[in-house]
Amino acid sequence: MSTATAPNYELLQQEGLETSLLEISMGPHHPSTHGVFRMDVKLDGETVVELRPVFGYLHRNHEKLAENMTYLSSMPFTDRLDYFNSMTNNWAYALAAEKLIEVEVPERAEYLRVIMAELTRLVNHVTLVGFFINDLGALGTPLMYAFREREKILDLFEQASGARMMCNYFRFGGLRNDVPEGWLDRTRELVDRFPAFLDEYEQLLCENEIILSRTQGVGNLSRELAINAGITGPMLRASGVNYDLRKVDAYGIYDRFKFRVPYTDGDTGDCYDRFMIRMLEMRESVAILKQALADIPEGDIIGKVSKVFKPKPAEVYGRIEGPKGELGFYLIADGTTKPYRYRVRPPSLINLTVLRDMCLGGKIADAVIILGSIDIVLGEVDR
């Protein structure tokens, strides 16, 4: 499937002039492969003729580990999947397990979950844009601005959960603890300030001629290929499919909020679209956050559920719209305290599958930014 839609690139071979390809192995310790990822690239001059992604360097046996420990014990390990977005990872796993044990999540916990998830989305998108521009060759200026904003949100996470990145905050039936006093006010302040930062960010990046000409028309992903390859998240919406699990599933209490889903008309689906969709999604996240912070009630934080439980034999799939795409957890319970099967549907890995199709025929610099625009975290790709 994937090779059929790849651009039909033929090496320019003129008569009497034999050229040989340059094979380079980009990674696993290359500055722009976002972790320990490797691309075996064959170059004709600077043009990518062949590209083979190699991964698995960060494989930690996540799924098999989880099958050998209780349901709760897997929760901290989900933080380590996509270590930028531990809150949403927690939520996806909690959502799956809650289907097994059928527990009511208190109202306040639902609101806090939405707040945490949208803050996570802000963290992810803002740093992704920073890294993406870094891949384009800027000296990290947007990345530094992004890190400053990320730092503020991580401070909030730390105050709420005790850890900045490995939050481990969600529990089956609610959250581990309530947020401390004054936390909501601090969050409101941050959310109120965030649009001003986004304005500045957009002014810095969105009209820059170099960024426009570097990203437009690069790494085109057609709507058909995107759907066939199972692409999800902002990448799918950039290819012109209006599909957002927050609208489709309306999991949690997302049906209570008014927000819009940005998507393209599907003509291009290039790196610029993927970049812009993320910029626009941040505005929507801010809108959701404002509503959630205005409406959040007082009350319990976790439903009645025992720490160690034996669910009835069942088969469940819990999925959420993670910042990178559809993050799903598939669990089979066999009546013991441990899951019989534990499977993660990682958006990073599945979005990465179209890398070769998008890179062939482009320049090596394009391959780097295409990889950047896919938004992968190797912790999730390799698990």
Binding site: G137, A138, S213, R214, R260, T264, D273, D366
Partner: protein
Amino acid sequence: MSFELIKDILIATVPLLVIFPSLFAFTTWMERKALARIQNRIGPNKTGIPCTRIGLFGLGQPAADGIKMIFKEDIVPRGADKLFHLLAPILALIPAMLILCFLPLEFPWGKFMSAPVQAFLLDSAVIFFFAISGLATLAIFMAGWASRNKYSLLGGMRAVAQMVSYEIPLVLSAVVVVMMVGSLNAKEIADAQTGFNWFVFTPWGLAAFVIFFIAALAETNRSPFDLPEAESEIIAGYFTEYSGFKFALFFLGEYIAMFAISGLAVTLFLGAGDGPFLTAAPWLSVMWFIGKIFGLIAVMIWLRGTLPRLRVDQLMAFAWKFLLPLSIFNILLAGLTHFALDARVAATSDAILYSIHASHTHSDAANHDHPKPVAGQKEAVMGALHYTDKDWMGAMKWFSKAALKGHAQSRSILGWGFGIWAMSLIVLYVMAKGLDNVSRSTAKPREYLYAE
């Protein structure tokens, strides 16, 4: 005689070898500090005087960096060409240092020299400058090839292609100034711009300056043209296998080349050592010169903090499809404006001079009928005199004084001057815009759909 010569050469060169490397150290600090502030960081602020807690805003950082570089292990990859691996950084530094000699810097210690050193007053200094600065390409190629590393080789190839391409617009934009001054001698070019007659104030000079600056960025591998060392694509390009002192030498060479090419830009377009208060303190000239160099370097740092990098095909397209036609067109425009100005303004100013001459002879011959002097005649004559001296900044000053007093010919001159000036700028802008549209695929911000 030969002793004198050697003394002169030493007086002339040793300060250059001392001043510019120390300025390099300062520039690395400045760059780190400025980039840090652009990125809302603080930058080096603790490294000051050793063994104390006096931070001096981190001014000790370059020294600390240098010490670190010297004591680092020098790694030569197995399979590398050891000789060339060693020679490349040295070869990168030599041309950069050499071209500093062609800058018309007037150091106060010049008066200790028995005769001006020949090399500084070369008739073809500008050609020499380009010829020798081109040698840096070889060093980079050497480094890329000798490292026996594919990333180094890619970086080296990129560097060669880029520097060869950008040398053309660089030279062509300098040609305009050479054409107008009628000399390749750096000193004469500098002298032609005294009294704020900087070429950057002319429309063709402005365009040439912008082209020159952009091409200079590419020549010195600065952002957004830092493809040869693009860390997100090819690790560090030709630097990849360099460490320790060899790396420091490359670094030094790169910065000295930056100084040199900024110095040439200052010489050609920004009036060299020209500036205010020079009559009171002639030694300020060298300060102005170095200050202007630092101004240009500040802009380079600013650009580096803002812009991402171009892709290799866009880089080539930009050089060949945008800068090259624009600089050729600029040469044409410079010639045309020169003729147009000569045709009108020079003729009018000649007429002013002639009329005053005629009135004088007339009043001398027949002593009865004093013609009433036209208002502003005196100022107009001053303007015309300045104009014939090619001091058009002064001429404009006097002509506008005359025009304020209602002098018709001065008004016509001013009108023509500013008209041509503005017209040329508009033509250049339209040309550049058109070339941009032709050379670049239409990339513009897009509209997005929203689903409720």
